[in-house]
Every structure is written in structure tokens, then in C-alpha cells.
């Protein structure tokens, strides 16, 4: 059973809600970061919501995904809890990684979310590995890797795809082509017009879809999943999308103009899906406004709770290095803690 049935009206409303949740979450994350509330970096998914929601909705709930540094949208589409995500962004103990990972490393392995990732291009081989587990154990599960246009320049991406293709593993590779890797336009990173051309080298199906059309992404992944589950191997999907915000907060964006962003906004995924649903009588304008308000309230609550939540105890820094007990870490920890006195 798919995560969200796009043919049902309730499914369509749920997809809309998830896209709105991503936008509200990341809008808030951007504001909080700009206010100096959040440590580290945050990379916002605003503009790209249709890719994560379209793709993950077409998977089954038990399927795996690997994500990127720009991972909040994948988490929300996968059904992760916005409070635990926000708590992680703050570095609080209630966060998905107990504060150890932050925005760039949110993971929930039990939910099939194998991690946002700070290393560009690290996800595809990991997805190949999850697909290998599914195949090895004869489970009806597939693994989908999200990665950026920039990541397509990484060697390990290609090795991961080649393995999955050669072994006919149940994997799906989804490139989120938002036209930039940091400040570098896609044309300066690749010599092909469509990144989906890559698929030819592995003799797997590859195509480009409108990544700002949630239905188009859904349908592409639905087909890819069927192929993967049937033992026919991976599919390579390029989703043509756009990032509305800077690569990171404070990015002065010399590489594009405001017009470029406005042009992309013309194709806004949420606007288009909403219009479609209103036209089809699935939702009224008033219901849409209510939905937006509900989502906003959810993010308000998640943020307030995350702000009030506790930081991990500093002693937790020494936990989770190994499953086994390692005396070295304990000894070093004892030295830091007794000698350093109270660490504030």
C-alpha cells in the first residue's frame, strides 16, 4: 500500500498538507537561524516540496530513503515529527539524534529515514545498501536516494548506481535538480543537458520530470517502485525544481537574479496543486486557509516546545561512539570532567 494514495481525495489533501508543512517548517527554520537561535547551518527546501512529497508518497511506508544536507522536506514527507525535528535543530535532547546531529543529520532508521547527510553524494551508495538488504532478505521494500544536481559530479554516486543496476536491486535514484550546487550553476558542473542522460550509462530507465508538479513526481516514482519491486532494477529520475532561498542563510546569491527566482515561483508546486484541487472541488479556498493555519499552529507549537526543551547533559557527549564498552573514552571523559571542573 502506498504511503499516500493520490487517487483518494483524502490523499491529495494529505499531500498538500505535507507540502505546506515543509514550507512552514523551513520558513520558520530560516527565520530562527537568521535570528541566531539555531547553531550550525540550515539548508532550506522551500520551492522543492513537490519532489520529496511526490516521491515519498508513492513509496510504501516501510521503504527506505536516503537524504541530503537539504533534508527537512524528506523528513516531513516521510512522516517524521516536526517537534522532534525542531528539537534537533536546536540541539536539544528530544531531537531525533538527541542533539548530536543537528539539521544536517536528522535520521530515523526505524522509520526508514536513513539520514540527512553532510557529505554530498554519500546517499546513493547507502540506498544501494538498503536495497541490497531488501533483496538479500527477500523483503518487499525498496530504497530511494535523493541527491542534488551537484552530487551527480561525485564518483561514489555513480558507483552506487552502477552496483544497483548491475545487481538489479530495488533502488530508485532521484536527482533534485534545483539548478545550482551552492553558487555554481548546473551548466558549469555537467556536460549534459539532462542529468537523466546518466541512466544510459547504466542501462536503466532514466527520465526528467517536472519537479514542481507533485503529481508528475508521484507517477514517476510509482512506476519506478513497481519496476524495482518486480526485480527489474533501479530507475533514475531527474526532478526539475528550484530552490527559492540562498544555499545557506547569509548567501548573498551573486549567481542569480530576483527575476530568476520569480520565474520559478510562477511554477510554484503548492500554488499549482492547490489550484488543481480547488478546481476539482477537493478543497475550497476557505479549507485551504484553514489547512495553512493548522500547519502554522503545528510549527508554532513545535518551535515553542523545542525552545523550552532541555539540552543534553554534557556527559552524553561520550555516549553512542560504540555499541561496546570502550575504556579509553571513559578514561578521557573522567579526565576532562574532573580536571576541567564544572563545564558550563
Amino acid at each position: 500500500m502506498v504511503t499516500i494514495d493520490i487517487k483518494a481525495e483524502s490523499g491529495q489533501r494529505e499531500m498538500l498538507r505535507r507540502m505546506l508543512t515543509i514550507r512552514a517548517f523551513d520558513t520558520r527554520a530560516g527565520e530562527l537561524f537568521a535570528d541566531g537561535e539555531l547553531p550550525g547551518f540550515v539548508h532550506l527546501y522551500i520551492g522543492e516540496e513537490a519532489v520529496g512529497v511526490g516521491a515519498i508518497s508513492a513509496l510504501e511506508p516501510d521503504d527506505y530513503i536516503t537524504s541530503t544536507h537539504r533534508g527537512h522536506g524528506h523528513c516531513i514527507a516521510k512522516g517524521l515529527d516536526t517537534y522532534q525535528m525542531m528539537a534537533e535543530l536546536y540541539g536539544k535532547r528530544d531531537g531525533y539524534c538527541n542533539g548530536k546531529g543537528g539539521s544536517m543529520h536528522i535520521a530515523d532508521v526505524d522509520a526508514g529515514m536513513l539520514g540527512a547527510n553532510g557529505i554530498v553524494g554519500a546517499g546513493p551508495p547507502l540506498a544501494t545498501g538498503a536495497a541490497l538488504t531488501a533483496s538479500y532478505k527477500d523483503e518487499d521494500r525498496v530504497a530511494l536516494a535523493f541527491f542534488g544536481d551537484g552530487a551527480v559530479a561525485q564518483g561514489q554516486v555513480h558507483e552506487g548506481i552502477n552496483l544497483a543496476a548491475t545487481w538489479d536491486l530495488p533502488a530508485i535514484f532521484v536527482v533534485e535538480n534545483n539548478h545550482f550546487g551552492e553558487a555554481t550553476p548546473v551548466e558549469n558542473q555537467h556536460n549534459v543537458e539532462h542529468l537523466s542522460a546518466t541512466a544510459e550509462a547504466y542501462n536503466i530507465p532514466g527520465f526528467t520530470v517536472d519537479g514542481m508538479d507533485v503529481t508528475a513526481v508521484y507517477e514517476a516514482v510509482e512506476e519506478a517502485r513497481a519496476r524495482a519491486a518486480a526485480g527489474d532494477g533501479p530507475t533514475f529520475i531527474e526532478a526539475d525544481t528550484y530552490r527559492y532561498k540562498g544555499h545557506f542563510e547569509g548567501d548573498h546569491e551573486p549567481y542569480r537574479t530576483k527575476d530568476d527566482i520569480d520565474d520559478a515561483r510562477e511554477r510554484d508546486a503548492i500554488d499549482r496543486f492547490k489550484t488543481r484541487l480547488v478546481d476539482a472541488g477537493v478543497i475550497t479556498d476557505a479549507e485551504f486557509d484553514d489547512l495553512e493555519a493548522e500547519v502554522e499552529a503545528e510549527i508554532d507549537e513545535a518551535t515553542e516546545r523545542a525552545q523550552d526543551a532541555e539540552y543534553p547533559d554534557p556527559s552524553e557527549a561520550y555516549e553512542d561512539m560504540f555499541g561496546a564498552h570502550v575504556p579509553e573514552i571513559e578514561e578521557f571523559a573522567a579526565r576532562v570532567r574532573t580536571d576541567g571542573g564544572e563545564r558550563q
Partner: protein
Amino acid sequence: MSTETGTGQAVSATETMTIREAIREALREELARDEDAFLMGEDIGTFGGVLSVTGDLVDDFGEERVRDTPISEAGFMGAAVGAAATGTRPIVEIMFSDFLGVCAEQILNQMAKNRYMFGGKAEMPVTVRTTEGGGMGAASQHSGTIHTWFAHLPGVMAVTPGSARAAKGLLKSAIRSDDPVFFFENKDIYEQEGEVPTDEDYTIPLGQASVEREGDDVTVVATQRCVGESLDLAEELAGETSVEVIDLQSLYPMDTETLLESVEKTGRLIVADESPLSYGTHAEVVARVQERGFFSLDAPIQRVGVPDTHIPFSPALEREVMPDADGIQAAIDRVV
């Protein structure tokens, strides 16, 4: 202003600048000096580098010589090796040292080994600049201090400046060297200011440490951010404990003589470096000093570093594992 530098060279003019500026000036001078030298890295051109180190260099030297790359570290690290062997002088930027994992092969088996394996037939004038260190809440994949791996690797050199002067002097030597040199920039101290010689021929030889402050009771040999932490602490302790602070500057080759001379005077040694403690840079210093200076020692040598964890994201945790003045103070208390 006139200063006596770590090299013992008398230097006439200096200018106050940050470590970030000192690195940029070294790059600018060396690009101007040698037209075979060029830079490669991600968003180092018009964007000026993600940590704003290369800045405006592209305006002076153009896109051929300040070359933006795709996100292909293995590709352009390998290209640097191939280019260096054939008559150019590449200076590679790897945005965060954690990403060296992506291009490790070209370093371990090509860059480091070619000269030797080819019986001396290949020059390898590559410089790799990269950033290390915690303190930015950047989490485990963007905060590592992994210079020990490279100091340990036969065939490459590794330097770790702790001041603006060291940054400029060492980077210029690294670029001029016909051997591969890794230049590790601690990103937490880019804004640290210092006096830097303006002379375009000012360099610091690879393999030279610098006594940054003289003292009699205990020697702290430190790298990168820990140098500043140690100097501040030494100032605080002045009158009570006389602390000698040495910036190790160069991990390999290492200036063992300067360490031995200092320990002969103080009898006590603390090693402060932001790498994990086990099998580390600290251990190498300890080994060298005890091998040749054992009888100068009045107390066991102490190590201050990261307690074999990764650098966690949460500020509450990150502070816990990063070596700082408190940890250095505690180490001094153990032996003085």
C-alpha cells in the same frame, strides 16, 4: 614596526591582519610570483569561497587560475596530482577536511607515492588547503580535525598554523615546495589577528616550530586554536606559573630540536591539539621528546585533545569535547 620572528629572520615591516587575510595574501603573492601556480576548488572564484578565504582573487587572476570545480573532490584531487607531475603547481582547496575522505585514494596512493615509486622521476608540487575544527555547531561531518592522518602518511607534509604570521609564512613555503604539503586551517580562528611581515619573500621553513612566549616552569606545545588558548592562559597565569608556549606549526617534518630545548629548560610538557587523543599528533610529540629528552623531564607529559569522540552538534555537547584553556590549565595543574 620591527619584530623578531620564529625563523630568527629580522623582519622590518609588518601589518596587522587576520589569519583569513594572511592566507589570501600568501595566495595572491604566490600566484603573482609563479605563473604555473593556480587554485582549484568549489566556489572559490566569483563566490570567493564558502568561508570567504579566496575572496577577490579571481578578479586579479581570472577563472583559469582561480578555478571553480564541480563537486568532484576525487576528480580534481587526482587532476592536481597529474597536473603537478607534468609541470604546474596546483593549490587545491577542500572546503572541509572531512571531505578528504572522498578523495583519499588520490592522496594515499598517487600523490604520496609517485615520487618514490617512480624512483624520484616525478615532482609533486601540490598544496592542499583545507579547514578543520569544531566550534561552529557544524556537526560531525564538518568539524573534524584529521591532520594526524596526513602527518602519519609517508610522502606528504602537514602544517597547522596557529597565527596569522604562521599562516602566511607556511603557506608560501608550502606552495614553493616541490613536495605535497597539506595546510590545515582551523576555521574557528580565521578572524584571529596578528602581525604579519609584508615582505613578499618572508617564508617560514616547513619543519620549524615557533616559540610564541617564553617561560620557565612548563612548556605548552600547541597547534591551531590551542595556540591562542595557551597564550591567553599563559598571560593569566603570569606571576604564578611561567608558561612557555610553542606553536608547533609543522607536524611533519617536526621541529623536535625546539621542543627539546624548551623541555630542557622547563622540565614539563603539555601537548594541546584538537585531534582525537588516541594514536595522535600528541603521541608523536610525546614519543620524540621522551626518546631524546627523557632525562630533562621532571613530570609526565600531558595530552590535551578530543576524547576520542566525534564533534557533536549541540552546543551543550560540542563545548564538552573541545580542548580549551580549561583543559590546558588542568593539565598544567597535574604536573606543576
